[in-house]
Symmetry: D2
Subunit: 406 residues, 4 copies
């Protein structure tokens, strides 16, 4: 066990990270700095302070930050400019929060002169990778302590025993019955893994979902909303200008009310296995639909296609934890460049789990009615041109056909 | 006007292609062969025969074929193996039917020794390209007559006048009011363009939609369905084995009942302009969701990502009319190869416009419970391995960070 | 023939564009503005003025510009940052000059209030596309006159007859024997097409090549050169700081002397046919090799791979004439972003047609001797990490293998 | 140290693998099976048998195989069908041999009922990854012993001391002076790493190169060769039909004689660092040039571009050791499909380090002289078509330009 003086722990105040806090003290005999962030997970943060103090953490070593605006402005919005979806379905809700936590943790480590950072992600998941690639990219000399890869508390029983011995408060839910879902929440989404979800052939329990009404219980009347875009980001809902975090908060409320954004998925983890997760991403689901709609009238075709071609790569980079990599940044530069004219309005209809684009408008629209019309266009477009267009595009295939190829 | 002896016309029996039939006779003084196909558009075909006879078409020059099975088996299914979506939303319903019509038209041309083919697509749309690239690829010496690019009947008034003079029956709907929607239907979808859809900021009329219930009017009770896959294609619904066309027919009924598959989109045409279309693709929307679900447990991660990376290119090829191109075929060879183990079952829930995957199972599943579990896995996976994995993946970023790059 | 008042012609002063000049006057009865550019083709420009005056062109309508610096700085250098090669071999020498000519021609058209532009490219080649896509992108209302697509002077005999009648001076070489090679030259390259090159199975004549020594006749002693890079561009040769055009001029001299940069190629034209061309690109061949070398120590691996993945697309855009397209610009933004640290020195050896990298150095090098060494590295790299790295990367393949897949 | 009964060692007979052999016996107390393959490295194999016997290896546990034909036929040739180059320059000579060795080693392990395999690759390089990904893919339960990651013989001094103690014969070259180059050879190439190559700014010593004449010393007279292709593979040289290994052997002789195929490169390893290597790939360099030439007349443009777009990905898979992965196989299926018509002849000129295509011919050529000609083509191609082709391709850019975008 090498020498560690001070470690910054990503601390939620929950059972697992409390055990880690104690284990770090026990194992490394080092000063622990706790870092607790509000990224919209919807939990009180002050209890984390109280708990940290109980573990003997010095007040100046307790960091509690509200990162919601930064989270949406610098992470969620840039990602949605890319229309990022992992494996055709996943909106990357967990993935996108990790780089921010890593960044802030390293900032604190630099500030308090800590030599190590620690997190509560397990050795089987993607989150360890996302945290640690971030740590390393932002501070190449940082030491990383990943308790789940080091300790022997791999079963829930052992963990609870350790907690009990350490005097850590254990919720009823943890004491009784089996393990809870493994959950993660932030302003973009809440996720569920584990328990009987581990059988991909078992339907998720209806009681599991927390953020959204079930479509069945959602209102029987559709709701229309108007979103305004500037340079690819939503700046107003129904005519009211909002900050990034306000936008997402309100879209979550709207989407949650209408049962929007539930997903049940088997995905491929970066560490090599398949895993089944359930996700609620109400605001994000609305944002993706709306962003595609505003792009549909403001982006050039080939720019849109270039973005579509690069999207899976971008999404995999985010999923795999490469937010701080030079290749993600290079792609972002391209994507952000394309958003210059992505301005305007999108109207959506929300109804029982569905998001429907009903109209879109923009002063930067490239939709040209004169040309697109089925009516006589008065010469705006010469239909005869299409003949040459087709003939030259067909030429190579005609040559091949003449050569007898099937 | 060059010399044409015999032309095979893709003839629906409707107003436009009837005018074309007459115009071909008038203009080219040539023998016209009519070809009418059932690709699931849901219209009677025999009236087309009657009408053709009225124009003096010889009985042996009237071809009426039921191509529904071939359509789904050789076109729709292969395309869905690729999870093809154009511009993030469009399921390519119109695009995928054109190559089949072109193929059959060329077969007939060869059979009846015709020197030309003709179609009713306008000079502004994608369909002319799809038809003609197909014609040229399958018969490099064929002559193509595209009346909309040649004649001067570009306004609806002129067209109706020509029809009237020619004694062509005109429906009430055509006579009264403005132009109808430009529609296209086949087993995969029905599409709408034109009229007030030409304003992308106007919501589509509720009365426009034909195939699906509105989500609001769909049943209040969800319906579960079970789909069985073999090599990437659906072979049974709810345990009942079905032919390809039967599968799609039944999924259309199920999707239509539950309000599934409506889409309102501004898309980029191959000929260079943006256009707004509305689509109903009930069965296809279900198939896409289900195919992703069965692939999620049976496809290797990197194979799935390779497919995702190639998908937009494949979709653009289909959209642009390159079905018969060597590059589409090369991609298909890869895609089909990946489907060998895409076998198993998917259970879906259908409800008021939504399709939800609830479970999936396969004898070829790559989901490994022992490894994925949050419980102690008894050593199936060594969490310590992740440390090395992360460190080597981080190495290049650490080196860059040390070099002072941000 | 629609009404044209004033047309800006890309005028070389050679036979073909002189015939075009006259033909424009004869056919359109319009004022002709001639534009002659020095882009390094190595020809006197003043004779073009004299000839233009003979045709009655007003002195203020004769534009002669030295565009060499702009050409290399804003076109050649940006393209080489991308390591662009078309179809594995072609360095895009002709392609890259067209957008500049188009740009300047449109600038002049705007300045002199011309309503049309004209060029001497044939209707079979890529250059017409490159010119005209540029014209349209930079001035969507411009009229374009492409004489080769309009007139009936398609055979050399007719062209010469027209020239003779018009009193246009005809060189001996044109009068005698067959057609000359179709050649194009600028600071980046000289190209040859036509004549017996039209048989891809015939070896090019040794006498055809103009810019380079044959490797056989090149010096028997190798020459070493040192190139200095800043942000991806060469700024000095052998320690002497040079402007962009000076860099390329000097590299052409060096490469030409050592027989570097000859290429004999069958390429695929954008207009659909294959064509055989021979190229001499002495300086460009050196630049490509050197740029890869400096990137090899200064670019991150994944950024380099991203560039490699995008390169064929970028190259095809340039080849096809889409320099002024929004998608080429978006790619350029990404590429230029990656060049921030592409600084340093490359030493090359030039010998009888070959360019060999012998060393490279940079203050921004990411090459880390401590880690890369075969000697004991004192713990800079923990070899044990590789075990975990491999095991997690192998996991999915092991699962598949266990599932019985081959 | 877990229990191992029998291990199959990739054994060259050289110093390093001899030390490993002894170390395996000492450390694991297990039966060692030696596997020595002729993949064209140009060394006697029988001494390996003698040495193995000295270590007490049972005769039936000594496997010596000539894999040259399999190597070229099933590994080198398929890779060259893809025109694979890593990072713009490296022909993957080392990478492509590893999967074959892994495959044969696993076959032997299965045959002799061994529970482990072992190799002599270090923990810093790519080869460990290539070997082990192969092992795991082909036998998911195999145990792998990677001595360089386990033992403490990381310095050359310790290794030599161990060897001496074990009575292993040490060459003079190893005893004296510093470490030798780290070399790897097979029918495709020989590579050099280490020593003063570790400084990327130092020129490689002329005495280092072994397989090729220096260009300076190569013959003063060029040599022409004719290669015949069938389905993308060379089947004859100068009219003489040859087996795959014969083809490569002869091309190596020809290329080596003419100083062809030397490369000095800094490359990015999969394990995260940059490394400098020198390579001689005489035959491969010729094959790449020739394969591009035969494809240039026989492949469709878009198929060729699809291959070019996928090539860097394919090359990275081979480089990183994913030969046996399902994604490499899927890509290979596509690539092999494209080679159906890659038949014909290529003539090359070899001279002092250079390979020049001078002509190419094929009964499957898609080069159409009638269309490509600069002379009057008698109507084979209608130049007027190009106008429509350009106008439709320009349409979106004109619309953008009208919208005021730059």
């Amino acid at each position: 066990m090498s020498n560690i003086n001070k470690v910054v722990l990503a601390y939620s105040g929950g059972l697992d990270t409390s055990v880690i806090l104690k284990w770090l003290q026990d194992t490394y005999q080092c000063e622990v700095v706790t870092f607790t962030a509000d990224i919209g997970q919807g939990e009180e943060l002050e209890p984390a302070r109280t708990k940290a103090l109980k573990f003997g953490i010095k007040p100046e070593n307790i960091f509690i930050d509200d990162l919601r605006e930064e989270f949406v402005r610098d992470f969620v919005f840039p990602m949605f400019r890319a229309n990022a979806i992992y494996e055709g379905e996943y909106l990357l809700g967990t993935s996108i929060a990790r780089p921010l936590i890593a960044k802030r943790q390293i900032e604190i480590a630099n500030q308090v002169n800590a030599d190590a950072v620690s997190h509560g992600a397990t050795g089987k998941g993607n989150d360890q990778v996302r945290f640690e690639l971030g740590y390393y990219a932002l501070n190449p000399n940082i030491r990383i302590i990943a308790p789940w890869r080091e300790w022997d508390l791999l079963s829930r029983e052992k963990l609870l025993a350790y907690a009990e011995k350490a005097g850590i408060e254990i919720d009823m839910k943890h004491k009784q019955g089996g393990a809870p879902y493994s959950m993660d929440a932030n302003l973009l989404h809440i996720s569920y893994e584990g328990r009987h979800l581990e059988d991909p052939n078992a339907e998720a329990e209806d009681s599991m979902w927390r953020w959204t009404s079930s479509p069945e219980e959602a209102p029987d009347t559709p709701e229309y909303i108007d979103l305004e875009y500037e340079r690819g980001d939503i700046v107003a809902i129904n005519g009211i200008r909002l900050s990034p975090a306000q936008v997402l908060t309100q879209l979550n409320a709207l989407g949650g009310k209408h049962g929007i954004g539930r997903l049940d998925l088997v995905e491929n983890r970066y560490v090599g296995m398949k895993s089944r997760g359930c996700y609620e991403t109400p605001g994000g689901t609305i944002m993706l639909k709306a962003h595609r709609a505003i792009e549909s009238i403001t982006l050039d075709r080939e720019v849109a296609h270039l973005k579509d071609d690069l999207m899976p790569r971008y999404a995999a980079l985010v999923y795999n934890g490469y937010w701080w990599s030079p290749e993600r940044k290079a792609l972002q530069v391209l994507i952000d460049h394309t958003q210059e004219y992505v301005n305007g309005f999108v109207r959506l209809k929300l109804y029982k789990g569905g998001v429907y684009t009903v109209s879109r408008d923009s002063k930067d629209s490239l939709f040209d009615k004169t040309i697109a019309t089925f009516d006589d266009d008065g010469g705006a477009y010469d239909q005869a041109d299409a003949g040459g267009f087709i003939k030259l595009n067909a030429l190579r295939m005609r040559i091949e056909s003449k050569a007898g190829r099937r």
